[in-house]
Symmetry: C2
Subunit: 320 residues, 2 copies
């Protein structure tokens, strides 16, 4: 059958189809009990007969419809002499609803129908191994905890991050090192004098001074970079800097992979303390640094204008 082939992508369709099948039968069931209601009136009718709510919006929230839907249903029910409307005296906006004598008659007669439908469904469910009613409840709960979208996003991230490789810098990544950094700097700030020099000459400014650069490859394309710059006479061993991930490769966990790799690199070089400068506007970056264990500090004055937060990470007793 179609659904078993397509898989879970079609869960929505499958639910819709079963639902349609049930409402079709519902139509006939009302006839069976000679209850002069249309299935789509039922939720509204139920709330009114239970005496719970009696204004359009309140009913809509109670039954999980939009208010225009309730508005239309009520109009039909008024035409069918099931419900009467009357303006609220103290609040002229509200449309108070009430069952007519005919409506109350139906409410009495429908009790047997409730009973029989409940029993019929329960009898069917009792024959199943996986109870549909309970399954719906559980699934609805799971989705309210975390939406399907977020669950899929996470799967995507997990799958794609497996395709990310972190490799040491090589001269052929010089262009990428520049442009990846330029991309984010120009999005949020503007390039400064220091940027042009350091980014243009990573070998001279970073590697030759005892620093390191890691590059993240996705399908063999450089999509992220990060550098460790040697620091002297500051109490820090390295500055974590020039961290950049292209927006094209978002949602693949690249920042996190790169961050963990660069910290690991520092650790393997015997570093005890690393430092970084950033800007609080860059929330995802700050979140990442916190996850890596960095704590806010007041450090030495920065040459960069865009720096408004400084952080450090002690490696003697790493948090992770």
């Amino acid at each position: 059958m179609f659904f078993n082939q397509v898989g879970k992508m079609a869960l929505g369709s499958r639910l819709r189809m079963l639902s349609e099948r049930m409402t079709e039968d519902a139509q006939l069931i009302y006839q069976l009990y000679q209850v002069d209601l249309r299935p789509k009136w039922f939720p509204v009718f139920y709330v009114l007969s239970a005496g719970q709510e009696n204004t359009i919006t309140a009913i809509a929230t109670a039954i999980g419809h939009s208010h225009p839907s309730v508005s239309k249903i009520v109009r039909e029910m008024v035409a069918g002499d099931i419900v009467v409307e009357r303006k609220d005296e103290s609040d002229g906006r509200k449309n108070r609803l009430e069952l007519t004598p005919k409506g109350r008659g139906i409410a009495a007669r429908i009790q047997d129908q409730y009973l029989d439908v409940n029993r019929a469904v329960e009898e069917a469910l009792a024959q199943t191994h996986h109870n549909l009613w309970k399954a719906l409840e559980e699934f609805e709960f799971l989705l309210s905890e975390r939406s399907l979208l977020r669950r899929v996003q996470q799967q995507k991230k997990e799958r794609e991050s497996k395709k990310v490789k972190i490799v040491p810098y090589e001269p052929r990544y010089r262009e990428a090192f520049y442009s990846l950094n330029e991309e984010w700097i120009n999005t949020y700030f503007k390039m400064e004098k220091e940027d042009l020099e350091t980014l243009g000459n990573p070998k001279e400014y970073i590697l030759d001074n005892g620093g390191h650069i890691l590059v993240a490859l996705y399908e063999n394309e450089p999509v992220g970079v990060c550098a460790l710059i040697k620091m002297k006479n500051t109490g820090y061993d390295f500055e974590l800097a020039k961290m950049a991930v292209t927006s094209r490769a978002k949602g693949k966990g690249i920042g996190s992979l790169l961050g963990r790799a660069i910290v690991e690199k520092a650790r393997s070089l015997g570093a005890k303390k690393i430092y970084l400068e950033s800007n609080t506007q860059l929330t995802p970056a700050i979140n990442l640094y916190q996850k890596l264990g960095f704590k806010k500090v007041v450090g030495p004055p920065s040459p960069y204008e865009r720096c408004n937060i400084q952080m450090e990470l002690e490696l003697d007793n790493p948090t992770r």
Copy 2:
């Protein structure tokens, strides 16, 4: 929450709502993968990309939609450059469909999406006790075996048959005995001379000759009757006759209750063999007689025109 209060009557609504919630997310998921498809196109797209079917009606049956639905979806997909149409050469009615290069590109890119969605849903389902996917399958199967309507009908019958009382004839049921029989005779045939006499004078024609009459009461109203008429010199003890149930009280199992009661009565009177006459047009009646154990026989000639079948039941060795 609403659904737990209303109970299983709202199963249809609940399914519809979950389905809507899922399709909303689906929209966003397509965006996430930059797949230029609308969720409602998906089933058609899937069938085409799998190379299974490629005409409107065939796709419609495969995915369980109506053909106009597929027709409209295809029109949209053509506008979106996903699909091209071309007339079948040998059969001018058929509209052969094919993915465009763009469509094939999407088919390739969507693979990852299948994977992630499947995993996301399966991961969620794994956290539930009642698996929604399997529950749907089981429930769909149960409904295909016996529809919800029939299940409800049965519950109704069971509940209502408990309110039916079978009591012996009393003079105050004389009117009912006549009119209940008149009702069905006039619906299918017409009243004959014998009917007028026997039905008008049950005491004289039936009871005083050693016969018996049972009356079915529903909410203290007579809704069915049935008689045992003493037979002599025929090899039979009684004729089961004048069985009538008003159409107003259909679907309450009254015929069955009355039938079993009258057979029981005959048995308690020491009868060995009962006889009856009927007409094959009255299928529900014939079915009932068969359930009670009656077998077709060729009996003595009947005084009634409408009789075209004769049956007997041996009580020495009752089937039930």
